[in-house]
């Protein structure tokens, strides 16, 4: 029986969007006949002639083009070859896409796909997780799916939303994650913006997103051996953040660890800890903790990389410390 990867889910969601909505087109480098650097658009150019277009190496103009097309009623999806290159389209994203609706009343329904996160040997410029940078800006929705099913439904939601969406798809999950079948439609399980309790637990809450959900789950599994029962919350979207679900979880467990693959300063973990400290102070039995990447560019050598980012074992360590506080 054939199983569906996280990458394939993204491809299938784009295929469905193209099929169901004539306003959708995809624009990015090498995404046409070639099917994209990661093959996320494989065969789509053939199936939808003229609607999956190779772009020049011009990230600023790629986003600008998407914005202009959205203004005229289209639903463009832009593929960045790597999240890291979105810095070259940064200005259009944060200053034009994010502000358009507030300034003019015209919505800007674009999706910018960012192949994100670290993989061994990818180094400082093909490994970045930029969700916190974009989430800082009001007007941008930032999605960070952690499962094959979410990758599929959230891509469909992203295309349907009236707002610009930064879609952070994790490269490490592309091939590692598989599912037997996909949901029929978005919202079947959870509505947009709602976090998931991936693993219910009693003793502490780990809030994570994207690839870190799986490190958190493995750590939770490891801690069962110590007799602990850890709850894992998958944020799914980091803007908006589903503070209610987090607070409800912390209310049950009294302890919070937030894990992010990006750097700590101002990251998702900082934002979640700040929210819980502010809104759920009384729920906490111990100081909330966060675990992030080390404070350097993402290193090239797999041995360094494996230490740079949080892993099941470093999450488990942090949890053990938290449980003793």
């Amino acid at each position: 029986m054939s199983s569906i990867t996280y990458l394939e889910a993204i491809r299938l969601a784009q295929q469905r969007a193209l099929k169901e909505d004539p306003r959708v087109f995809i624009y990015g480098q090498d995404i046409g006949v070639f099917g994209g650097a990661f093959k996320a658009t494989k065969n789509l150019a053939k199936e939808f002639p003229g609607r999956v277009l190779d772009a020049p190496i011009s990230e600023d103009a790629m986003v600008g083009l998407a914005i202009g097309a959205a203004i005229e009623g289209m639903r463009p999806i832009v593929e960045m070859q790597f999240a890291d290159f979105s810095t070259c389209g940064f200005n259009q994203i944060v200053n034009q896409a994010a502000t358009l609706h507030y300034r003019t009343g015209t919505p800007c329904p674009i999706v910018v796909r960012l192949p994100s996160g670290g993989t061994p040997g990818s180094g400082p410029f093909h490994s970045q997780s930029m969700e916190a940078i974009y989430a800082h800006y009001p007007g941008l929705v930032v999605m960070t799916p952690a499962t094959v099913e979410d990758a599929y439904t959230m891509m469909l939601e992203a295309v349907a939303l009236e707002d610009p969406v930064i879609f952070c798809e994790h490269k490490f999950l592309y091939y590692h994650l598989k599912a037997e079948k996909l949901p029929k439609f978005p919202g079947e399980e959870l509505p947009f913006g709602k976090a998931r309790i991936t693993r219910p637990g009693r003793d502490a809450t780990v809030v994570a997103y994207s690839a870190m959900v799986h490190e958190a789950l493995a750590a939770a599994e490891e801690l069962t051996q110590d007799g602990y029962d850890i709850e894992v919350v998958d944020l799914r979207t980091v803007r908006p953040i589903d503070t209610d679900t987090i607070l409800a979880s912390v209310a049950r467990t009294g302890r919070l660890l937030v894990v992010g693959e990006a750097w700590p300063w101002g990251g998702v973990a900082a934002e979640v800890v700040a929210r819980v400290a502010t809104e759920g102070f009384g729920l906490l039995d111990a100081p909330p903790q966060r675990l992030n990447a080390k404070e350097t560019p993402v290193p090239y050598h797999p041995a360094l990389w494996g230490t740079h980012r949080p892993t099941a074992s470093s999450v488990a360590n942090s949890l053990r410390q938290l449980l003793e506080l």
């Binding site: 087109f25 609607r51 103009a61 600008g64 959205a70 203004i71 200053n95 300034r103 329904p109």
Partner: protein
């Protein structure tokens, strides 16, 4: 610093217009253009006065001296076209359908203006009507217009064009370059007018670029190039008319370069003392509004009396509109929805 050029020098892919009497130019068009220039000029004078009296806060950025070039693009666009004007395009905006009323409302931050006090001055537009609202970051609108044109192509709309302006300084931005190249690759019906007013803010051209002729950029992108005499309305009308027509005919992107001078500071806070007197007194410094009137009068398309009566009528219109807008409500922060999202509630 400034490199005066003869008006009709040929660049490598340059198309020279067939001159003042070319195709599209009619008395009616020229009269409409002149009247719009007059509106822009008098409206801007009012804006400057409102700025000096402290009624407009932030800044006022005028296009004085550039009305002929600006209006020539505006009048050649029509319903369904895309227009992304820049800083000095008051005249083009009015020609495209913007109004004295909305300009004043936007500058004064009226809640009734199209920007509702959220954005102001030159950053106004109605994107859903093809009238893009520039962001400040120069060059950014080139690719945005491309995107709207791609949308039209998807919809099978034919014969519409997209147009934007930029200063010579803006050509140094990476955005400009990426947008031009993309337009050329997609063969979009885009018209880009470069107003080479010799200065970008205070920076003279020799600190901005080193090519002997900005029009040489056309060949580097593989787009058609045109040169207009920036303060000559009749020449601008015919050259830009031809550029717009070429784009409409499906000949791909068109780059128009025009030399001229802004007869005012970068903004009203700036006295432009960095512009040498000799340059101001050169042919480049001649006032396009004055020249346009002379030229239309010479052609007997307009009489001095009519021009004077237009002046009076426009002045009255501007004054009355300003008084009205000055009495309009400012935006009320307690009524503001403070929500940047279109589909999400507040505080997300």
């Amino acid at each position: 610093m400034t490199k005066p050029k003869s008006a009709k020098t040929k660049g490598s892919q340059e198309k020279s217009s067939t001159g003042a009497t070319a195709g599209v130019l009619t008395a009616e068009l020229a009269r409409r253009a002149y009247r719009t220039m007059l509106e822009a000029r008098l409206l801007e004078e009012k804006l400057a006065a409102l700025y000096r009296s402290g009624k407009i806060v932030g800044g006022v950025f005028l296009g004085r001296g550039q009305e002929a070039l600006s209006v020539s693009l505006g009048v050649h666009l029509r319903r369904g076209d895309i227009y992304a004007p820049l800083i000095r395009d008051q005249a083009g905006r009015l020609a495209f359908g913007d109004t004295i009323l909305d300009t004043l409302r936007t500058y004064l931050g009226s809640s009734l203006g199209s920007m509702r006090g959220r954005d102001g001055n030159i950053h106004r537009g109605r994107p859903s009507e093809g009238y893009h609202a520039m962001i400040s970051h120069l060059g950014a609108m080139v690719s945005t217009v491309c995107g709207s044109l791609v949308a039209k192509r998807f919809r099978g709309e034919k014969g519409t064009v997209g147009a934007t302006c930029i200063g010579e300084g803006g050509t140094s931005t990476g955005s400009f370059h990426e947008g031009m190249n993309m337009a050329a690759v997609e063969k979009l019906p885009l018209v880009v007018v470069v107003a080479n007013n010799q200065y970008s803010y205070s920076t003279p051209n020799d600190r901005q670029f080193a090519c002997s002729d900005l029009l040489a950029k056309a060949a580097g992108y593989g787009v058609q190039g045109h040169r207009a005499v920036g303060n000559d309305l009749v020449d601008c009308l015919s050259v830009i008319g031809e550029a717009v027509a070429a784009a409409r005919r499906g000949e791909g992107p068109q780059l128009v370069v025009a030399d001229l001078l802004r007869l005012v500071g970068h903004g009203e806070h700036d006295d432009a003392s960095y512009i040498p007197e000799a340059l101001k007194k050169s042919p480049l410094g001649r006032d396009c509004l004055e020249l346009a009137k002379q030229s239309l009068v010479e052609r007997e398309w307009l009489s001095e009396e009519e021009a004077a009566s237009w002046h009076k009528a426009v002045e009255k219109d501007v004054e009355e509109t300003a008084s009205k807008v000055l009495r309009e409500p400012a935006p009320d922060p307690t009524e503001e929805d403070w929500n940047a999202f279109a589909s999400l509630g507040r505080n997300h």
